[in-house]
Symmetry: C2
Subunit: 211 residues, 2 copies
């Protein structure tokens, strides 16, 4: 699972700086609001220069969104290792559970993740970037689904739409995530959301994919 991390010194130092900036940014943004906090405020709190911030994060939005959206590779990996005979709804539910499980493994991170989710959903600019990131997830999920089902993603809308429905389910869970919810409650929300889309995810192929 250690793809290209821990180059043992330089990489570790970089990670430290990035964490420092991210922590300062999340603290300020979550408490004061996204619009009123400037990048100058963030770097002042982190004790670094403005230029350094933009070497680690592409934008003010990036530092927030990446806190949630950096797990895309893990999701795809999980989907790729699900048994091929498994219904799409089950495989996708397991794949999208990965980032939530990662939260639950670190309870002290879980609460902050929930706060960040709320910040994103309540801030239009962040919500837009979050959805933009989800578009990438959708493309990757669609490619893997096409792989699983043997469908051609260029002629059949199913893979892309199935991925979209799964992400819609995830969004619904995040929207309904309340303070104090434990892992079991999160799992129940996930089951409810996937129950809605499952009839479409697992329906027998019906689109003739005509042109």
């Amino acid at each position: 699972m250690r793809s290209r991390a821990d180059n043992s010194l330089a990489e570790r130092k970089r990670q430290l700086v990035a964490d420092e900036l991210r922590d300062a940014a999340l603290m300020l943004l979550a408490t004061k609001g996204f619009d009123v906090v400037t990048v100058d405020d963030i770097v002042a709190a982190a004790g670094m220069s403005r230029r350094t911030f933009f070497r680690y994060f592409a934008s003010k939005e990036d530092v927030v969104v990446r806190f949630l959206a950096d797990t895309s590779a893990d999701i795809i990996t999980e989907l790729a290792t699900r048994p091929p005979a498994e219904p799409s709804s089950v495989a996708l539910r397991h794949a999208l559970w990965v980032p939530l499980a990662a939260c639950n493994d670190h309870p002290e991170h879980s609460e902050r993740a929930r706060v960040v989710v709320r910040l994103i959903l309540d801030t239009p600019a962040l919500h837009a970037r979050w959805l933009e990131r989800q578009i990438e997830w959708r493309a990757e999920l669609a490619a893997e689904l096409a792989n699983r089902s043997g469908l051609d993603p260029h002629t059949d809308p199913y893979p892309r739409m199935a991925a979209g429905m799964a992400l819609l389910a995830l969004d619904t869970v995040l929207q309904r995530w309340q303070p104090g919810d434990d892992e079991q409650h999160l799992a129940k929300l996930m089951d409810q959301a996937f129950a809605v889309v499952a009839p479409a995810l697992d329906a027998p192929a019906a689109s003739p994919a005509a042109g």
Copy 2:
């Protein structure tokens, strides 16, 4: 259909200025690309001042996205007037057909609409704003769906997710929209997309909405 337009002189003049700015903006942005064209370029082409542009459009993104996204009210109206007994998939398909039908009514506008769709889908910043606008559509559609089905949108995820699936179908159609496609082809794409989500849209209520 004339909600609060044509205040017969001042409003007409405002509309004229807005159209001029929009036409100049779409021309430049579609041909040269979103990032390389500045607001200064746009207002120079339209023969107006930079300050005026921002009196009519909230941002450079706004002028593009609003060209497609201003039909939200018509969509909700259409959904509200569909027969209550109609399956959700059919009602939603008719509602989301409204903006596409509006395009087809004006063939000279249709081609430009398709170009703008392509511009939005290919420009990350625009795509993000477009999705952000769709969030509003989703909330309005969800409210109307909750109204139709008698479900409580706060406890039952179905209305929100049904709206999301319908918009996913629309997005799929726009993605697959090719040059030269006539109204019939667009209708076929719409049918294909809704065929995928219909099993979920029309499934018997299965979520106990427990908390």
